[in-house]
Amino acid sequence: MSKSYSFIGTSYLHSCEDQYHNSNNLRFEFQTNLIQAVSEKHPSNIIYNCSEGGHGITTYFKRLLTLLDRYDPDVFVFEIPNAQRILAHTDNEYGENYDIHFPVQIWHAGKPQNLDEKFRTVSASIIDDSQVLMEPNELNQYWTEHTNMPFHLGSKQWQGYVKVLSTFNDGEKSRFLDTIAQCEVINDFLVSKGKEVFWFSWKPNGLKIDSDKLTLFKPHSISEWKYEQDIGKVTNPEVARQHLKQFCYDDNHLHSKYMPKFAEYFDKIFK
């Protein structure tokens, strides 16, 4: 019998360019993504894509417990999240009605299997340094939507908030230390349940992943893998980051036309 796979990650595994945006079905808000491409390449396997943009490691625990409870997949593949990814819960819907926040997409041979499964209208809110680049009207819109409180604030009133966010990048390495420890706890749990567990990252952050507990992809970041395929050995993580940009619609997230090629990164775990 074919193994079932689950992928837990962030926007990198969940989104594509605006052309395929689908506001009528928020669980499949993006009509394609990297995991759909993986599913097309491996049509005999059921694949669960349990990824959500902006959300970080603190949400992985509940996702994997729910995956085990519902589907008991054989293999788990995790994206080690980068950046701070502060999930700032401003209401209790996520806690009380988790089923509609559980971001699972079920794929078989590239076809979605749970198109009709109900999904939340608004995701749990995030406090993220990407908001530094938002205009006041965008910030007002985001936080009005996420708090059910009207925000009509001007740029002056957002200054303190933006200042705090603008320093988030400076602490990324510190966050990463806690993130790796949390990954190790997750890994230990799943391995003890007899699962195969693999880890990868999207872009190198200049830090060696100092863990003998995690089974990492080689190379562990997808951007380094692509650079090695196209050019050669990575000597400086920054060049791999720069190289990735040409395949992205926004410098960070893959354009759908490149997804089948990038899906090869995961081939070895299907052998």
């Binding site: 603190t58 949400t59 625990f61 509940k62 417990l65 701070q84 502060i86 999930l87 700032a88 819960h89 401003t90 209401d91 209790n92 819907e93 996520y94 806690g95 009380e96 988790y98 749990a124 406090i127 910030l139 936080w143 708090t147 409180m149 925000f151 604030l153 002056k156 009133q157 957002w158 200054q159 303190g160 908030y161 200042k163 705090v164 320093t167 988030f168 400076d170 602490g171 990324e172 390495k173 510190s174 966050r175 990463f176 230390l177 806690d178 420890a181 949390q182 190790e184 706890v185 997750i186 230990d188 749990f189 003890s192 830090l207």
Partner: protein, 300 residues
């Protein structure tokens, strides 16, 4: 041959690591009154010279107790602490606090990464005596995102961020959005706790599979409380500290359904033993209240 001391590690928050400002003690006498403060500013690892775990250590001198707790922070930091405790000391027993509140840790610099040992909040106690008094400790704690920030003045906010190394000199108007947002966090505490509970489940599993005896406790429980997994060993049959004290005094443990409406009553009673209105005990009551943890020792 003498039996080796049993080692018990506590992981938690301010409730088990703080005492009131002004507490003095001969153990730390040579270090007192730096810049006019009574807190132990010269030895920040023991900035509060008394705490619940020290009181417990005085009562059970035959044990080595590790207090690995830090005010404000939550379970996002627990995994790293657990690994470090296992690697350094390999304790026999873990006693872990299920946190209340939001407790979002922020990182604004890389010191925690590059100098982790100075951020590892370990205190080692034997017979009420600190065993790692000279271990260096960080000067500044990591910042938090907390609902309380929604009620601070702009001077307090500027001061708070300046202290964390973030130059902030904003007016009340410029802090408006920040304060409105953080004051919303308390509306999502149940959601936050539901993520936290999943973290606790995996930590519990990790420790048990490494042959550790694992106990959990809560200081508070309220309407945000998330159901405890059936296989958790909860101290005092999952009676939180402030309720335990109430029943100890007045008896009549009510049905769980009544607890929510009684919450304020428990807290009011408990706060009469505290130096603030936030359920932080005064040092003189710690020895008595440390009996909450007696089942750990009696069952040994």
């Amino acid at each position: 041959m003498t039996k080796p001391k049993q080692k018990i590690a506590f992981i938690g928050t301010s409730y088990i690591v703080l005492c009131e400002p002004g507490y003095e003690d001969k153990t730390f006498e040579s270090e007192k009154t730096y810049k006019g403060f009574y807190h132990n500013d010269k030895n920040l690892r023991f900035s509060s010279k008394m705490n619940m775990i020290r009181a417990l250590s005085e009562r059970y001198p035959e044990y080595t107790l590790y207090n690995c707790s830090e005010g404000g922070h939550g379970p996002d930091l627990y995994a790293k602490r657990v690994y470090e405790l296992m690697e350094r000391y390999n304790p026999d027993v873990f006693v872990i606090e299920i946190t209340d509140g939001e407790r979002y840790t922020l990182h604004f610099n890389d010191e925690y990464h590059y100098d982790w040992e100075k951020h590892f909040p370990i205190q080692i106690w034997e017979g009420g005596v600190p065993m790692n008094k000279d271990e260096p400790f960080r000067e500044y704690d990591k910042p938090l995102l907390d609902t309380v920030h929604g009620f601070l003045s702009c001077d307090e906010l500027n001061g708070m961020w300046d202290e964390k190394g973030i130059l902030a000199n904003f007016t009340a108007t410029e802090w408006v959005a920040f304060q409105r947002l953080v004051s919303q966090l308390e509306n999502g505490v149940h959601s936050r706790h539901s993520d936290n509970m999943a973290v606790y489940k995996l930590i519990d599993h990790y420790l048990k599979t490494h042959n550790k005896d694992v106990h959990w406790f809560r200081w508070h429980a309220d309407q945000h409380t998330v159901s405890i997994p059936y296989n958790f060993q909860m101290l005092r049959d999952d009676t939180p500290m402030i309720e335990w004290e109430y029943y100890r005094k007045f008896g009549n443990q009510p049905h769980r359904q009544q607890l929510i409406s009684l919450g304020e009553k428990y807290e009011d009673h408990f706060n009469t033993f505290c130096y603030d209105s936030g359920s932080h005990l005064k040092s003189k009551y710690m020895s008595d209240f440390s009996q909450y943890f007696d089942p750990l020792f009696i069952n040994e």
